[in-house]
């Protein structure tokens, strides 16, 4: 009976019933490969890979993109479900919020900007160390 299995490189997939079934039928479905595997030959490697194979990667995410966002994109199969982030035409993750729009009208922005909350007693506000503040950092 001909069946189709969906496989990936996870251990569950490599040891699945479907994978074992494919191996069992290998002598008839692909006798050449079966012969190679049973004779202990390693896979045929004619072409050289450059030393840094990840040179081909196309992603070049900006240094402002938190690592958590990249991890989240990988975990969700490439989709960006985080507000304020999107992708550019090359697939790099970028910030999409109005705050990063350079060309927006400055006066209009001033009217629309919500001032930071006043903390502490009365008009006194707490200011963090400029040097060690992490306002811009979301590592």
């Amino acid at each position: 009976m001909c069946r189709t299995g969906d496989f990936n490189l996870s251990h569950a997939s490599l040891t699945s019933v479907a994978a074992l079934s494919a191996l069992r039928t290998l002598p008839t479905t692909n006798p050449t490969l079966y012969q190679e595997i049973t004779s202990g030959k390693t896979n045929e490697i004619i072409d050289d890979e450059p030393v840094f194979s990840d040179e081909f990667e196309v992603n070049n995410d900006g240094s402002d993109i938190p690592v958590d966002v990249i991890r989240s994109v990988i975990m969700s199969d490439g989709s960006i479900g985080i507000e304020g982030f999107g992708t550019d035409e090359s697939g790099n993750i970028i910030r999409t919020g109005a705050a990063e729009e350079f060309e927006s009208n400055a006066e209009e922005d001033e009217e629309n900007v919500i001032p930071p909350a006043v903390l502490g007693r009365g008009r006194r506000s707490k200011t963090e160390s400029k040097r060690y503040g992490t306002d811009w950092e979301e590592h």
């Binding site: 040891t15 004619i46 070049n60 240094s63 690592v67």
Partner: protein, 327 residues
């Protein structure tokens, strides 16, 4: 720019815009800003990996080969590891440069190989990240980060190996590959076998790409002689972007983490200068090799913690490809 904003107008980072966003001086913003000043961006292009026309058949054969080895040698997920080299330049962003619009001469900083190091991460199919090997260009251990570098002790405690490349000769690269096996791969497999109560003769599967050093007779012969229980499985050539878990799901996070760490160091250095009230025009970032090399230890360690997530490593194997095989 982040340092100057933080120093001169920190409130910009605190404002909330109507859509809820906060200004972070993103690279998107910086690019737009520089263009208004008449600068143009040049970016070195990298060719996309060209897939062989029969790539599905190659992937299918590779999958079945691995499946067969795992079945015949009863290899558990803990004993299946993928390793891969990645190059990191000290001054990240070197592939992108800015010039006054119309200028023909384009200089690219930081692309000299001496201003880069090689990192070799390894992950197991059970979701574990092994210690990393870091190779630095130079003749002796003096070319590696100094013992006084920040995070150096922690990195050594985690099992990291810092080595000089010495040269690009064939035997030098053979030597670093062998030390990767001796110092990281084999000890990991041995430790796992003990934990799993498996005999020393238990086979393991090590997935590496088709770099000429990996597939050389010398290296394979040495592996058979010294580490006969480690079976090598080569990632099919030209298919690393589909069939190498490290390339698919891990390197992007690793590189992003190091890029952010390097950027943070620059911001901190600039802030320290601005706080010192010395003229800004007298300021020059410290880009000496020794300084950047020592800083790289912190970047590597931080990246190690950022990718050492079981669910991320397991996901990397799943997102490699989805093959349809008739069984």
């Amino acid at each position: 720019m982040v340092a100057f904003v933080k120093h001169d107008a920190p409130e910009l980072f605190e404002q909330t815009f109507p859509d809820g966003s906060h200004f972070r001086c993103s690279e998107t913003f910086v690019r737009k800003y520089l263009r208004t000043l008449g600068w143009s961006e040049r970016c070195s292009t990298r060719p996309a990996q060209k897939l062989p026309s029969n790539y599905e058949q190659i992937l299918s054969d590779s999958f079945l080969r691995q499946s067969c080895i795992i079945r015949d040698h009863a290899i558990p997920a803990e004993l299946r590891v993928n390793s891969d080299q990645t190059q990191t330049v000290y001054q990240m962003g070197g592939k992108r440069t800015w010039n006054k619009a119309g200028e023909k001469q384009v200089t690219t900083m930081g692309m000299d190989e001496k201003r880069a190091f090689t990192l070799v991460p390894s992950i197991s199919a059970s979701g574990e990240l092994l210690p990393m090997q870091a190779i630095f260009y130079g003749q002796t251990t003096a070319s590696c980060p100094s013992k006084g570098a920040q995070c150096y002790t922690e990195a050594v405690d985690e099992g990291f190996q810092f080595e000089p490349l010495k040269s690009h000769t064939y035997w030098s690269t053979q030597a670093t590959m062998r030390s990767l096996v001796i110092d990281i791969i084999a000890p990991y497999f041995n430790k796992k076998k003990e934990e799993l109560n498996l005999p020393a003769s238990q086979c393991s599967l090590w997935m590496i790409d088709c770099w000429s050093v990996h597939k050389s007779e010398e290296f394979r012969g040495w592996m058979k002689e010294k580490h006969a229980n480690i079976i090598i499985s080569f990632v099919p050539a030209n298919l690393t972007g589909l069939a190498q878990p490290l390339d698919v799901g891990i390197q992007r996070v690793l590189k992003q983490s190091m890029k952010r760490s390097a950027h943070k160091d620059i911001v901190d250095e600039t802030m320290a200068h601005l706080d010192s009230n010395i003229s800004a025009s007298a300021f020059k970032l410290d880009t000496t090799l020794g300084t950047l090399r020592d800083r790289s230890v912190g970047w590597i360690l931080s990246a190690y913690h950022d990718i050492s997530k079981t669910e991320l490593i397991l996901k990397a194997s799943i997102v490699t490809y989805c093959l349809h095989i008739h069984t």
